[in-house]
Symmetry: C2
Subunit: 342 residues, 2 copies
Amino acid sequence: MSHRQGILEALDEAGTAVSGQALASRFGISRAAVWKHIEALEAAGYEIERARSKGYRLVSSPDRLSAEALSGLLAGRRLGSNVVVLDVTRSTNSDALALGREGAPEGSVVLAEAQTGGRGRLGRQWESARGVNLYLSLLLRPPIVPAAAPQLSLVAGVAVAETLAAEGIACRIKWPNDVVLGGEDDASGTGSVPLRKIAGILTEIEAEADRVSFVVVGIGVNVNSTGEHFSAALAGRATSFLLETGRRLDRTALAARLLSRMEGAYEAFLTQGFGALASRWRALSVLEGRTVEVGGVGGQGQDVSRGTCIGIDSDGALLLEIAPGRVRRVLAGDVTVQGGYD
Amino acid sequence: MSHRQGILEALDEAGTAVSGQALASRFGISRAAVWKHIEALEAAGYEIERARSKGYRLVSSPDRLSAEALSGLLAGRRLGSNVVVLDVTRSTNSDALALGREGAPEGSVVLAEAQTGGRGRLGRQWESARGVNLYLSLLLRPPIVPAAAPQLSLVAGVAVAETLAAEGIACRIKWPNDVVLGGEDDASGTGSVPLRKIAGILTEIEAEADRVSFVVVGIGVNVNSTGEHFSAALAGRATSFLLETGRRLDRTALAARLLSRMEGAYEAFLTQGFGALASRWRALSVLEGRTVEVGGVGGQGQDVSRGTCIGIDSDGALLLEIAPGRVRRVLAGDVTVQGGYD
């Protein structure tokens, strides 16, 4: 153990202030050296109170993701059987896909403090500020056809939104799987409060034409980020748990709660199909009754559908009433809400 | 150029017999050395006639896949823009998937003389004898949803079956994409001639939940293999072009014809959807009107459907009449024909 780690543990064990002289004697170093270690610990995010007469007191530790703590919280569960926590990586989804190719078991999870090439849906960037948010990718091996993969994305959306709701924040889902706040009618009654995204999901699959080999569900949650963590492009469009509530969350504990909830939802999906989750998803949907436009992103041609959102079906397809009595199923696309938010 | 290559080219250019002394003088080696090179060329599959008075004459060259020849045959085409020919590889599909991840362009093709871990559908092995058959994997980047990937597998089935048919062999398709001979009523009228598989297709995809990143269509065709190339497990169930017709095909030329036909079918699929190919597929189907059982391989549960095959729909799903007037769509599965072949 380094002197720095030793000093940290001594402060943590003491619980009260420890004098610089006591620390210097204990580790056989000068008081100036102790002071340098204290400075370094502060730079790493530890909050340390300095009182001239009493010495140093550890006030708080930085929020660091801990593979050991997360594994402990998820002991015996199917999801979280194998936890990898990285400091910085390009993309946790890419890492989990690589694990999938290597044959890693279902329930393997990759988390990172930061991503240098975080990805969102449709090849978009996912901003991944360091040390404040969750970037979590989960490896699953469900016996499904590729056509059912979007349902798994919706299942994850339910787990994320319900987990955040349980922390006291009334978020909802914008189809297919943005987790958002806002969208309610505004005070003037003439429009809606703009949507602010708090979490997103990127599901990637490797499959034969008619059988999935494995799925990686990537979940990004803005937890403790503040305004300065977002680029100008996201200003007003992204939010975080801290920004909405003024409270910080321990990310490791949040990851454990999210994975536990995901496990329950995933098992319902496997045994009963998406239909078992559809009513929970609908209860969270922010689009119901809204007039929306969906730009095609897959399929032949680049159709745009416009209509009133009347829900999703038991396969997870968005149902749009495009004319009185005429309903179109939309399998994939980007949703824009007419005359309202976004 | 090595002496061996030089001797080969000299024989090829001459067209007639060349004396050992002439070859020895030309390359500045002994006649014994010439004789050793001739032996080595014979071992590599070249047929060389030896006439004491005249010397050596090149009778035939072994059938080797040639990237250069294939590229030349496909110049200016979309499929075959980038051809890789390997001697031995684990799996051309795995190689093409790796190319896809590295950003290789649509139309890249990987072929191999032999595969050590050739794969078929549902994790099965694909026997890959050396130097006699086609093992070809094609990288595509279609703007489709994962649910449409099985359609692409059917498109490839049409291209393979039509290409072989154009060579004079009446093969058909067993849903989803085995290319087979047999299946007609047998002479006694009480059953059907067993199916013999001549080609198979393994389509693999990497995708987001609602958008395909790329597709690899792997095509294995038994071209010039003979009985001794098949394991006991395949006896009576597999066949080849040579076994059926007594004729050998040049594999490079066959690959070029197959890729050209695939290109036409693929472009019809991209511009008009699978519906444009469905009638060609149906004309080749061996299952129409047969009573079949389909074991589920995807989806929740492992249902088995039994009924009379009445075709496929415009999405490529198999349509089974499971009771009078009741039709079930089957998206994926393994088909067994009742009271008949297979």
